[in-house]
Amino acid sequence: MTAAIDAHELTRRFGNFTAVDAITFEVQAGEVFGFLGANGAGKTTAIKMLIGLLAPTSGTARVAEFDVTTDAESVRSHIGYMSQRFSLYDDLTVRENITLYGGIYGLTDAEIRDRGDGLIGRLHLEDAADARVQSLPLGWKQKLAFSVALLHRPAVVFLDEPTGGVDPITRRQFWDMIYDAAEDGTTILVTTHYLDEAEYCDRISIMVDGRIAAMGTPSEVKGRFGAASLDEVFLELVRPQSVSAVQHA
C-alpha cells in the first residue's frame, strides 16, 4: 500500500527565507493527519505545495500517487480542498454551488443530482437547498463547504483551519463528518489551532520554523515530551523559538 501523501525533503524558499525546510512525512490512506504549528511556521506553504498551488524549491511530494511537480493536473482532480477562507459562493444557492463544483470536477448530471440530494439530506438542508448560501449560519456553511469538497470523492482532502470561528457543538459535528469521510477511505490532512481537535487525529505533526519538530500519534507525542496535554507540548516547542526570534529580529 503506497501512502496517500508522501513528502520527501520538501523545501520552499522565498529569497533567503526558508518557509518550509526539507520536511519528510507520510500519510496513509484513510488516516486523519493533523498538521499543527504556530502562525507562520510554514503549514500553509507546505499545503500549497501539496495541492499544486506552489512549486517546491527542492524535494518531492506525491499526493494520491501523483507527483505534485510533474503531474499536477492529475493531483488536482484527485484531491479536495477547503481553505481557511470560506470557499463557497455566497450569492449562489446551496444547489447551485453543488452543481458548479460537480461540473468543475467532471461529474455527470445524474451524479451531481444524486450526490447533491444525498449531501443535502445528510446536512438536513432540504428547506435551504434553494436559498442563497449567504443566508446560512456560519456552522452550516462550513459543513456544506466540507461536503462539497468531498462531492467528487477525492482520495485526499486538505482542510486548512476548517473550524475557525465555529461554535463547539458544530465543531464536534464537523469532526464526526471528518471521521465518516476517513472511514470511507478518504485521507484527510487538517490544520487547526484548536489543540483539543488535534487529539482527534490519528497522527499529528507540529511544525516550527519550517521544520517538523514532532510527529506521531497524539499520545506518542505527549509521551516523548512528558507532557499531560498537547497544549504543553505545543508551548514547549513553540515558545523558545519565538522568544529567540524576537531577540534576533
Binding site: 499544486g52 498551488l53 506552489l54 477562507r85 470557499s87 449562489l92 470536477y105 455527470t108 448530471d109
Partner: protein
C-alpha cells in the same frame, strides 16, 4: 482510486463555470441595471450636453481701409445666421482685449487695399486669428469662417488664395457639424471598456479576495477555462450594450449608419475581447478589489477616453503622447467604428486597425493566462 470518467453526459466544466458567472451577474441587480442603462445614459448625455457644435461664432473685424470689397465681405459674414460681428476697428489693437475678455472667437484682419488687390487679380491675403485656448472649437470655427469667405470669393469669381487653410476631417464626413455623430463610436468604445475591462477586473479580484479563486486554481479547471468562463458572460453583456448604444444614437439623434452592421458588431466583439484580456491581467497583477478597480480606471478608462481621439484629436497631442496612443486599443476601435458608421467603409480600408487589435488581443490573452500560471511557480 477513482477511474477517469468519460461519456457525453459529463457536465462540461466550462459550462458549469459560465452558468455560475451568469448567476453572479444576474443576482447583482443594481450593478446589472447600471450596466444595462449605461450606454443609453452616456449617449444621451454626451449627445445633448457635451456636444461642441458651433452655435455662434463671434468675429472681431480689423479693417484699416474700408472699401467696397471689405464691406461686401463683412455683410456676407454678418448675414450668416451663425456668425456675428462684435467689433470693427481700424487697428489690430482690439484683437488681444477681445480675446482676453472672451468677447470674440475669431478675428479677421483685412489688408490695406483689399478691393484693389481683388480687382487686380493678385492674391488678397486675409488673416484669420482664432482663440485657440480651445483648439478643437477654434479650428472648427476657423473652418466655418473660411468656408463663408470661400463662398464669397467663388461668387465674385475671384481666384483667391486661401487665407488660412484648416483641413478638417469633420467638414468632410460630418457636413452638418454634428459632434454627436463623432461621439457615438467613441462612446461605444467607452461603454465596452467599462463593461469588459473594469467589470472583469472587479469580478476576478473579488474571487481572489474572497479566496474562491484558490479553490478554482486547485480544481482541474485549466487557467484558460477560468479566464474564458469568466469573460464570456461579460462579452454577452457588452454585445447587448453596443446594440443599445446604436439604437439610442439612431432613435434619439438620427446618427447615420452607412456601413455594415455585422462588421461593426464583429469589430466590437474583438475590441471587447481586448478589454476582457486587459481586465483579467489587471486582476492578476493587483492584490485587492479596490486596487483592481483603480488599476482598471487608470490603465483602461483614462487612456481610452483621453488618448483615443474621442475627446482630444490625436493630432493635437504632443509627440510623446501621440506615441502612447498607438498602444491604446480604443484609438484603433474608434477609427474602425467611425469608418464603418460615418464613412461606410469596409474591411479593405480598416484591415490594418483590425490586425492591430488582434495582435493586442493575442499578446494580452497570453499574458493573462501566464499571469495565472505564474501563481503556481
Amino acid at each position: 482510486m477513482r477511474e477517469a470518467r468519460s461519456g457525453s453526459d459529463r457536465r462540461s466544466a466550462l459550462r458549469a463555470f459560465v452558468i455560475k458567472e451568469l448567476h453572479h451577474i444576474v443576482r447583482d441587480r443594481q450593478t446589472l441595471t447600471i450596466l444595462l442603462l449605461l450606454p443609453l445614459a452616456m449617449v444621451v448625455l454626451f449627445g445633448f450636453a457635451l456636444r461642441n457644435d458651433i452655435s455662434e461664432v463671434r468675429i472681431g473685424i480689423v479693417d484699416a481701409s474700408p472699401d467696397a470689397a471689405t464691406i461686401a465681405l463683412r455683410n456676407r459674414l454678418s448675414g450668416n445666421p451663425r456668425l456675428s460681428i462684435v467689433a470693427v476697428a481700424p487697428t489690430a489693437d482690439i484683437v488681444e482685449p477681445l480675446f482676453r475678455r472672451g468677447d470674440a472667437d475669431i478675428a479677421l484682419v483685412f489688408p490695406v487695399g483689399f478691393a484693389e488687390s481683388l480687382s487686380r487679380g493678385t492674391a488678397a491675403r486675409l488673416l484669420l486669428i482664432s482663440d485657440a485656448s480651445d483648439p478643437n472649437t477654434a479650428s472648427m470655427m476657423a473652418a466655418y469662417v473660411n468656408a463663408v469667405i470661400a463662398s464669397y470669393a467663388a461668387d465674385r469669381g475671384v481666384n483667391r488664395q486661401s487665407v488660412q487653410i484648416v483641413p478638417q476631417f469633420r467638414m468632410r464626413y460630418n457636413p452638418t457639424l454634428k459632434s454627436v455623430n463623432l461621439f457615438v463610436p467613441g462612446l461605444i468604445a467607452l461603454v465596452l471598456t467599462l463593461v469588459t475591462a473594469l467589470m472583469t477586473a472587479i469580478s476576478l479580484s473579488r474571487e481572489k479576495e474572497r479566496g474562491t479563486l484558490e479553490i478554482l486554481l486547485v480544481s482541474p479547471l485549466r487557467p484558460w477555462q477560468i479566464i474564458v468562463g469568466k469573460v464570456m458572460p461579460y462579452l454577452l453583456l457588452a454585445f447587448g450594450n453596443v446594440i443599445t448604444a446604436l439604437l439610442a444614437a439612431w432613435l434619439v439623434f438620427n446618427v447615420p449608419f452607412r456601413g455594415s452592421l455585422m462588421l461593426l458588431l464583429g469589430s466590437s466583439v474583438l475590441f471587447a475581447m481586448v478589454g476582457l484580456a486587459l481586465g483579467v491581467l489587471i486582476a492578476a497583477l493587483t492584490a485587492s478589489q479596490r486596487a483592481a478597480m483603480l488599476g482598471a480606471l487608470v490603465v483602461t478608462m483614462l487612456p481610452n477616453t483621453l488618448l483615443s481621439g474621442l475627446i482630444f484629436p490625436i493630432a493635437s497631442l504632443p509627440g510623446w503622447l501621440q506615441a502612447i496612443t498607438y498602444f491604446v486599443p480604443a484609438r484603433w476601435f474608434i477609427v474602425i467604428a467611425r469608418g464603418i458608421m460615418l464613412k461606410g467603409v469596409g474591411m479593405s480600408n480598416l484591415w490594418k486597425e483590425h490586425v492591430i487589435l488582434v495582435v493586442m488581443l493575442v499578446v494580452l490573452f497570453t499574458a493573462a493566462v501566464r499571469s495565472f500560471k505564474a501563481r503556481l511557480a
